[in-house]
Every structure is written in structure tokens, then in C-alpha cells.
């Protein structure tokens, strides 16, 4: 039995203490190899790390270096797993330096790359003692690797939890499906894979919609090869058909990828596409299939939500268009234009409306209104309000009576919703266009006179549906040739910037100064756009209707 004096015991104690503080396997060699060099007769201590494919992934040494030309022989010695072997002529350079024998020990830790330690010793070395010391060093090393592996497993679990949380956050933050697909791929790379491709089913065809790689140039080059692209596409198709498994290439493929894992994108019982995860890393670093499935499920849900949102929004825009006149009448002497912008985040039909109708006596009625609230009930009321007012005004009923009839109708239906509305009656006059404005609680229109600053006209009245009797505010004005009247809903003026300032505080009037003499089509569209840009987006629906007395109007 070998006696162990205090010096070696102190060394071992230091090693065991250090086991708890190292964070990477690369730190191990500097810790465990040098101590054996202090033993009499020891010339070198070498460490070999074995990769799963049977090769050596790292060479380390203390003392005489493990030279390139000696490595093959060192590997043979390690493979023989003999506790002690003589140094043969293959290692002549070592023999020349007094080396005569080599002690060998292998260490295996399940789940981690195995290692071998070789101690090169001279003829005078105390072999039994060295063997005991080596065994103790192997124990320390094995424990260090086991702890690193446990730490890594815990770190990976933490990372995967964080990735799922962050991926959900990132993907839920957008409703645009293209962005969602890109974010899903970008979150995965390089944390869990070297690359990620997103294939999406569109009209029964599988299309590559996003491709992300830690080395994008490499992936682009690989995808530019039609055979490689077809191979990936085929794998994705087979995944959709339910018969694709993880693919291992014997050697790395043209993209340097060792493993490709297909994962179906499925949400609410519908297959949306496939994620292909590309791995360069060894199998031990590839996340478990359950995790990849979970990540793909979250991506699929986010993509599906985006698609549902898009569908709903398209429906809203279509329905909104049906609540508005398909075209406006052409009236000699009056230029007319309207614009309607649906709010960006809107998924329900809004209540803004406008129309222009002509009476048989040539008087033109331009009307604009806003039913409070959104959704199917508001949409039904919107249709009813526009048609009621339009029909009555066309038949020659006065604006006050038409608005009164609508008020009665709303009250009779017992709806809690109210409606603001404004009607401009336009009559040719000697010096332009005479306007009688009738307002039921609607925002005052704006008058744009040639060469002068824009001015708000009068509003007044009470919204319809509130009181048993309609209260209408009336005012008159004259539009000279070139002057225009701008009618709108409150979505235009109430857009707010990041500081909460409303569009009509200053920016509206600056935009009007700029657009005052523009054609009415330009006026309504650019004004609507200016409001949206001011607010960062179209927060609410915006209806704008403009009429201008034309220059050649001869009264």
C-alpha cells in the first residue's frame, strides 16, 4: 500500500475544492494534469478527449508536450487501456529524454465525452505510487465532468424555459405572419440549432418562408444548390405527410449540417407547415424532441393567430366597403371626394359613414356620420342611418326632418347607441355654392378658402338617439369658387402622438395649409394619411368627405 504524505493530500484537497468552481471542461486540464508532474520520475502528463465518432476532440498536456507526430501513438496506448506499458521505439524522442514507461487510465462519464490520461515516466519512477495517484486524479476529474454535465443539463433546461417564454413574447408581439415566422426561426438560432427553416403550406403548396442560420452566407450558398434545396423541401413535404424522421448525414452535408430535424407546425388541428432545424453540433447538444415540438407548437399558434387576424381584418374591410357608397355622384360645378381608412388594429366593423345624394331640383346633400361603438350592431345601425338619410334627402325631405326621422327610428329600436351626423345642403349661388350645414352633435366641418388659413365652421346640435326630439344645429356659409368644405369623423382629429397631443391641436392645421389648394382627391387622402402618420398608425376609422366649388361654376 502506498503511503500518502501531506503534500499530495493537500494537492488532492485543493483539486476537490476546485471541482466545484470550474465552469468549462477546457479548464480541467490546467487543474488536473500538472500535479502529477511533481511526482518523482514523471516527465509528462497527457490528456485525450474522445469524441463520440471515435476520434480525439482535444489534446492537452503538462510537462513534455504531446507533439503532433506522437499523437497517433498516444492514441494507440490509450486504446490498449493497459495500466502500464513500456515506451517503444515509436516514441523515440521521448525515450531520448529518459521516458521508459507510460501509465494509462480511462475515464467515462455517461452523457459526456470520455477521456484518457497518460503519465509518461522515467525508469526511476515509483509505479505503484504513481498508479494510486493517477487513480485519485481520475476520480477528481470524473467528478468534475459529472458536475459540469449536471450544471450544463440544468443550464440547458433554464435556457429552454427562457427560450420558450421569450419566443412566445416575441411572436405574440406581432400579428403579421411573415414577421412571426421570421421571429420563430431567429429565436432558435443559434441557441438551440445552427439553422432553422420555416416552410408554410399555402394553397396546398409548401413554400420556404424564412431561413435563418448562424452563418447566413453558408446557408444561402447551400440553398442556391437546387439539389440541396429540393432535398430539404422533400424532407419538409414528407414531414407534412407524416413520414419524416430526424436525418443524420454520415458526413456533414454541403451546408456543413450533421443533423436535420423536421418538426410539424400544427395548431388547432390544422397543419400550417414545417420547421426544419439544422444542427452542426453533436447529438448530445441537440435539444430533446419534446422541446422542439413545444417550440414549434407555439410558433404554429402565433402564425395561426396572425392568419386569423388577417382574415378577420379582410372581412372587416370588405364589410366596411359595403356600408359605404360604391361611388359618388358627378355633379357639375362641384368637385367631390371621400376617403375611408380602417383603423390598423381594428378587427370589428366601425360606424363611420358618408354619402352624397342629389335631389331632382339639383340640390346636393353631402352627409357624414358616426355611430358610436363597433361590431355587428353598430354596422347594422350604420347601414340603416346612411340609407335612411340618403333616401329621405333624395326625396326632398329637409335635413332637419330627415335627421329627426332617424332620431325617432333609433329611439323606437331602443338602441343605447347614439349617432352623430352632419348634412351639408349645397345649392348653386350667384357667387359660388351656398351651403346649409345641419349638425346633430357632429364635429364642425372646416372651410378652406383660397389664399386664407383654414377655419372651423360651426357644429352644434345633439347626437341622434339621445333625446326624444332631435336638436339640430344649423348654420350657413358660402363657398366661393375654389373654396372647399371638409367634413369628417372624429378619427381624423383625435389621433394622438406619443405624448398624447391630438392631431387637431396644431398638425391638422399645418397639413391643411399645405393641402388647401390641392385637388379634393389629394386633399382627403393625404389628410387621412397625415393623421395616421401623426398618430403612428390609424388608431380609429377615419372618414373624410370634401366638396369644392369649382372655378367654372357659373351659378
Amino acid at each position: 500500500m502506498v503511503g500518502v504524505e501531506l503534500g499530495w493530500a493537500a494537492t488532492l484537497h485543493r483539486l476537490w475544492s476546485s471541482v466545484t468552481v470550474i465552469t468549462a471542461r477546457d479548464q480541467l486540464a490546467d487543474l488536473v494534469l500538472p500535479p502529477l508532474l511533481t511526482e518523482p520520475g514523471v516527465l509528462a502528463v497527457w490528456g485525450l478527449r474522445h469524441d463520440p465518432a471515435g476520434g480525439i476532440s482535444a489534446y492537452r498536456w503538462a510537462g513534455l508536450p504531446l507533439r503532433q507526430e506522437d499523437r497517433a501513438e498516444a492514441e494507440k496506448i490509450a486504446a490498449r487501456e493497459l495500466p502500464v506499458a513500456p515506451i517503444g521505439p515509436e516514441l523515440e524522442s521521448l525515450r531520448a529524454q529518459g521516458a521508459r514507461q507510460v501509465l494509462s487510465a480511462r475515464l467515462d462519464v455517461p452523457g459526456a465525452e470520455a477521456g484518457s490520461m497518460l503519465v509518461v515516466a522515467g525508469a526511476d519512477a515509483d509505479l505503484p505510487r504513481l498508479q494510486a495517484c493517477l487513480a485519485q486524479i481520475v476520480d477528481v476529474t470524473r467528478e468534475a465532468i459529472r458536475r459540469l454535465l449536471a450544471g450544463r443539463t440544468e443550464d440547458e433546461q433554464q435556457m429552454r424555459d427562457a427560450l420558450l417564454a421569450e419566443a412566445s413574447l416575441q411572436m405574440d408581439a406581432v400579428l403579421d405572419t411573415t414577421q412571426t415566422m421570421h421571429r420563430a426561426a431567429r429565436m432558435a438560432v443559434p441557441a438551440i440549432a445552427e439553422g432553422c427553416l420555416v416552410y408554410v403550406l399555402e394553397d396546398d403548396k409548401l413554400l420556404l418562408r424564412s431561413a435563418v442560420h448562424v452563418d447566413m452566407r453558408r446557408l444561402d450558398t447551400a440553398l442556391a444548390n437546387p439539389a440541396y434545396a429540393a432535398c430539404l423541401s422533400d424532407l419538409a413535404s414528407r414531414a407534412v405527410a407524416g413520414n419524416a424522421e430526424r436525418v443524420h448525414s454520415g458526413d456533414t452535408d454541403s451546408a456543413g449540417t450533421r443533423t436535420i430535424h423536421p418538426q410539424l407546425l400544427r395548431a388547432r388541428g390544422r397543419v400550417l407547415g414545417v420547421l426544419l432545424f439544422l444542427f452542426d453540433r453533436g447529438d448530445d447538444r441537440i435539444p430533446p424532441p419534446d422541446f422542439l415540438r413545444d417550440l414549434a407548437y407555439r410558433a404554429a399558434l402565433a402564425i395561426d393567430n396572425g392568419e386569423l387576424y388577417e382574415q378577420r381584418r379582410r372581412d372587416v374591410v370588405t364589410m366596411q366597403q359595403h356600408l359605404l357608397p360604391s361611388r359618388l355622384p358627378v355633379v357639375p360645378g362641384i368637385a367631390i371626394a371621400a376617403s375611408y381608412a380602417v383603423g390598423d388594429r381594428v378587427t370589428e366593423v366601425g360606424g363611420d359613414f358618408y354619402d352624397v345624394v342629389t335631389r331632382t331640383d339639383g340640390v346636393v346633400a353631402a352627409l357624414v356620420g358616426d355611430v358610436c361603438g363597433r361590431g355587428p350592431e353598430a354596422a347594422a345601425l350604420t347601414g340603416m342611418a346612411r340609407h335612411t338619410l340618403g333616401t329621405l334627402l333624395t326625396e326632398g325631405v329637409s335635413p332637419a326632418r330627415a335627421l329627426g326621422r332617424l332620431n325617432t327610428g333609433l329611439r323606437r329600436d331602443g338602441s343605447w347607441r347614439f349617432v352623430t351626423a352632419g348634412v351639408a345642403m349645397l345649392r348653386p349661388a350667384a357667387k359660388g355654392l351656398a351651403v346649409q350645414w345641419n349638425s346633430a352633435g357632429h364635429p364642425a366641418p372646416i372651410v378652406l378658402r383660397r389664399g386664407r388659413s383654414a377655419q372651423a365652421a360651426r357644429g352644434g346640435g345633439i347626437p341622434l338617439g339621445v333625446l326624444p326630439q332631435a336638436t339640430i344645429g344649423r348654420s350657413r356659409l358660402l363657398l366661393a369658387p375654389g373654396d372647399a368644405l371638409l367634413m369628417f369623423t372624429d378619427g381624423l382629429t383625435e389621433a394622438r402622438d406619443a405624448d398624447g397631443v391630438m392631431f387637431d391641436h396644431a398638425a391638422l392645421w399645418q397639413a391643411l395649409d399645405r393641402l388647401r389648394d390641392a385637388p379634393v382627391e389629394t386633399l382627403v387622402h393625404e389628410l387621412s394619411q397625415a393623421s395616421a402618420i401623426f398618430g403612428g398608425a390609424v388608431a380609429d376609422d377615419i372618414a373624410v368627405l370634401a366638396v369644392r366649388a369649382e372655378e367654372h361654376h357659373d351659378g
Partner: protein
């Protein structure tokens, strides 16, 4: 131009928090790697092109910095033959795909997202360094 030190990573980052986090993450995953920090884009070219300067194995670049941003730095490095072969990794919290496209067009090797969670942050850097160091 001096030699290249593969164990040296040049980090261009203006945020104190990110400088600390990058140091902590790489210090743990790659203890053999030395980090050199520059706090603005304008410091990069003078550092790389100084007489006898040691070149890093990789440059880790923040994108949004006051003054010269990461995109400008990429363009300047790629335009200077003496340093144009450097590995350039953009490490950013930006989610703008147009920025990613612009960085790749300018010559970035990687465009990596900067996570909020530290465990993820560390993993992303770990894998990025592993990848490029294995190819360097």
C-alpha cells in the same frame, strides 16, 4: 498589421449592462477567451489599423450605438483590405428584418438576437463563439 489572436474577441458595445453581461457570459463559457471592449463604433478602425495591432479572432458588434453604428463599422471594416477578413457578428435586440438584411449586405457574418434572459443570452453567445471558433 499585426498577428491574429484567435482567443481574443473584440466587443463593440455602448451599454454598461450589456458589457457586464457579455463579460460574465463568455467568461464562464469560454474562460480561455480574452475580451477587449470598445464603447463606440468610432474607436474600431483606429484600434484595428494601429501599427502592429493584434487582430481579434472575432468582432462582436452592437448595432445601435450613438454616432457610428454597427452597420457603419461593418462597411468600414469590409472596405479596409488589411482587416476585411475579420469575422463580424452583429449582436442586437433589434427585430427589424430590414436591418438584418442591411447588415448581411454590408458583409456581416452573423446577425444574432440579444435575448433578455441571461441564461439564454449566455447560450446564444456560447453557441456563436463555438461556431466561429471551430471555423476560424
Amino acid at each position: 498589421m499585426g498577428e491574429t489572436d484567435r482567443d481574443l474577441v473584440l466587443v463593440v458595445e455602448d451599454s454598461d449592462e450589456d458589457v457586464e453581461a457579455i463579460g460574465r457570459a463568455i467568461g464562464r463559457s469560454h474562460p480561455q477567451v480574452r475580451l477587449e471592449f470598445l464603447r463606440s463604433g468610432a474607436e474600431v478602425m483606429p484600434r484595428l489599423t494601429a501599427a502592429g495591432a493584434t487582430l481579434p479572432g472575432m468582432v462582436l458588434l452592437d448595432l445601435n450605438m450613438p454616432g457610428e453604428g454597427g452597420l457603419d463599422v461593418i462597411k468600414r471594416i469590409r472596405a479596409e483590405p488589411a482587416v476585411s477578413a475579420l469575422i463580424l457578428v452583429v449582436f442586437t435586440s433589434s427585430e427589424d428584418q430590414a436591418e438584418a438584411d442591411a447588415c448581411y449586405a454590408a458583409g456581416a457574418d452573423s446577425y444574432i438576437f440579444k435575448p433578455i434572459n441571461f441564461a439564454l443570452f449566455r447560450t446564444v453567445l456560447h453557441q456563436t463563439l463555438d461556431y466561429w471558433r471551430s471555423r476560424g
